[in-house]
Amino acid sequence: MNTPASSTAAGAPPWRGAANAPTTVPGSASSSRALEVPGVETYSQEWICALLRSTLPFQTLPEELLHAVARLARVRSYAAGQVIYRRGEEADDIHIVASGRVRHELLAPGQERLERTMHSGDVFGWAAVLEAPRQRLAETTALERTEVLQIDGEQLLQVIERDPAAGSVVMSRFAAMITREFSAPASVAARVRHLNGRSAGPAGVPTGWALTMYRLAQWLKSPRPYLMVTGFGILLTLWYLTVEVWKLPRFADMPGLTVVVKEMFSQDPTYGLSVYTPEYYQHIWASVRRVGIAFVLATALGVPLGLFLGWSKTFREYVFPVFETLRPIPILAWVPLAILMFSGTESPVIFLTFLASFYATALNTMLGVESIDESYSRAAYCLGASKWQVFREVIVPGAMPFIFTGLQISIGVAWFSLVAGEMVSGEFGLGYVINTSYTMVRYPTIIIGMVTLGLVGYVTSAMVRVAGDWLMQWRVRELTMGGR
């Protein structure tokens, strides 16, 4: 696993500009430092900039500043097993792994020991950007022959202070990195140094957007998006080939890929429905409206019912049996009865959708309440809460994650029922479109309808999920911390 000691060996890293290789003093694991490498000439500026750019703290730094920071970097080399620094030592430099691997054992105050392996591009030694007194919080050891970029903390601050706005972003990102990637408590991140008096602590942490961009960049570097596109490509190609090129007999009546795409995006579609026709949006709205009404009603009735079913044993014993007896009847078996019970064409469809949604919501809510650890309500009683207070402060928030999972299921089920309802009885709506397109032999429109259904269904489901994430910040934060 150890890389060869000499850079003239085959497989030398491509960033080596000059011939002189960094040398190490062998065997002295107890002595702290290797010989300083005569500089930055052995690493190209472009390579260092690229490495800095890939790290979270420096990612958004403007070009000139990035180059200035790159010029501050020195390279040090460590042999396998060599200690880079120990806990308690004075912290001067931040470190970035250029090549090799480093073991990082962090013990932040009041925290359990956290061990990580650092690879090329990982930043450590960030104690150098904390307020004085600055001591190393971790012990770091090279696991194999490793080269590390080191940047002096004071010099770094002087450079980035030239652009205070960009500079404070850098410090905020250090704070974010410390909290998120090293799981250090907020009290440590709060000590990240200020720039000209402006706070760089967790209050300035770039949540959301910057972090998403960073993660997006990481994702794009992996093979995953390309595999995904390949998968789509294969399916779409197969569709195209079987219908339009090979013209297989089974597929004779199927609308081809090009036909559907042309129809969907044509200004004057043959069968009257494309993204340019108003009828398209009328149908979408008709379906969305029905689902919306049914879903809101189902949630408004189902969540309280589920909460009470879970909370009160008496209530459950009286009400749940009726609920359970009706449940095995598939929602769609209610279609004729719904038509009988409700007049008009809208109400039966909405009723069916409501019924499906209501069951899913009520059941999941009830299960959610039952899944709440009883320690929480016990703790609340201990602390002097009344029964009603426990319900409001413990049961309702505690069941929220389950309620939202239930709501996502509920909206999926709602679309399922809606489409069936629209196909059997109803005017307008995507289900209606699909059905009539079939009876009127407008096959490409069937596919347009299906695709639209999929899209709209996905979007509404995502909306529910986002609403859940927004309401339950605590859960999102807990999950990003690895659920500790």
Partner: protein
């Protein structure tokens, strides 16, 4: 067969008088469960006296019923017979088998019960806010102060899920103390922590105790923890549990970790470990699951 262990009279501990708050008297308590007809005795004629302001460590093998005892004091489980007193108030007895939970006896749970959906500060403020005896401003001022005393400032607006378990325990203790309880009931709170964090937690707990002088009823299976923290050690038998041996730990408070290497500590450990081990073996042979 009632085995009433010699009880110490309710005596003063470090300045608290017997008439003051927090003395617990457990009188001949029996708890029988009845899961589907099979009568299972969890607590067998247990009698115990805990002085006000005393740290009483309950040590016993897994599943022996010590948590049942704690739950009976807290008001989560009823008792089949016997009485439990808190000072001169009857918590539960023959006419009232289930005690009312209350903020004079607050529990710190094994896996932590900080509400994950509330910030740490809101958690700490929870008790007084629910009871409504202080204004919101007063409650939050007190909460901030107590968190600072416990070394938790800076974490008010984080959620419990963002903290390590050691820190969470501390927040939970502060939450309990906000209510000026007479008794703190600990149900193996440090069981899931590594020994390094545990030692930090012990010193933190003692620090808090020296400032607040509540009675502490602490269940553990860690003998070292018990001897280090406690004034009194009660070793329980395997299920059904009753006190097998009561040991006074006469090492002076305030204690620090230097105590661990003292000779008196080693002596007490020697006296007790064989008894504990014997009960543990019985429990293991009976195939007990952790409570």
């Amino acid at each position: 067969m009632a085995a009433v262990m010699e009880t110490t009279p309710a005596r003063a501990v470090s300045g608290r008088t017997a008439a003051a708050q927090g003395a617990i008297r457990i009188e001949d308590v029996v708890k029988v469960y009845d899961p589907g007809g099979a009568a299972v005795m969890a607590v067998d004629h247990c009698s115990l006296d805990i002085a006000a302001g005393e740290i009483c460590m309950i040590v016993g093998p897994s599943g022996c019923g010590k948590t049942t005892l704690l739950n009976a004091i807290a008001g989560f489980h009823s008792i089949t017979s016997g009485r439990i007193w808190l000072d001169d108030q009857l918590l539960c007895g023959p006419e009232k088998p289930l005690a009312d939970p209350g903020s004079d006896r607050v529990v710190v749970f094994q896996n932590g019960a900080l509400f994950p959906w509330k910030t740490n500060l809101d958690n700490v403020a929870f008790g007084p806010m629910m009871q409504g005896r202080m204004s919101r401003k007063e409650v939050y001022e007190k909460a901030r102060g107590m968190m600072a005393d416990a070394g938790l400032s800076g974490m008010e607006h984080n959620y419990p899920g963002e903290l390590s378990s050691g820190l969470r325990r501390r927040v939970e203790i502060v939450r309990a103390l906000m209510n000026d309880p007479k008794v703190l009931l600990f149900d193996e709170p440090y069981r899931a922590l590594d020994s390094l964090t545990k030692s930090v937690m012990h010193e933190a707990l003692l620090e808090i105790y020296y400032r607040n002088k509540v009675t502490i009823f602490f269940i553990t299976h860690d003998l070292e923890e018990a001897v280090f923290l406690g004034h009194k050690l009660v070793i329980m038998t395997s299920r059904p549990c009753r006190p097998k041996k009561v040991i006074e730990v006469d090492i002076a408070h305030p204690r620090d970790y230097g105590v661990l290497t003292s000779s008196r500590f080693r002596q007490i450990m020697d006296e007790t470990s064989e008894v504990v081990h014997e009960e543990a073996r019985k429990s293991f042979a009976a195939g007990e699951k952790e409570g």
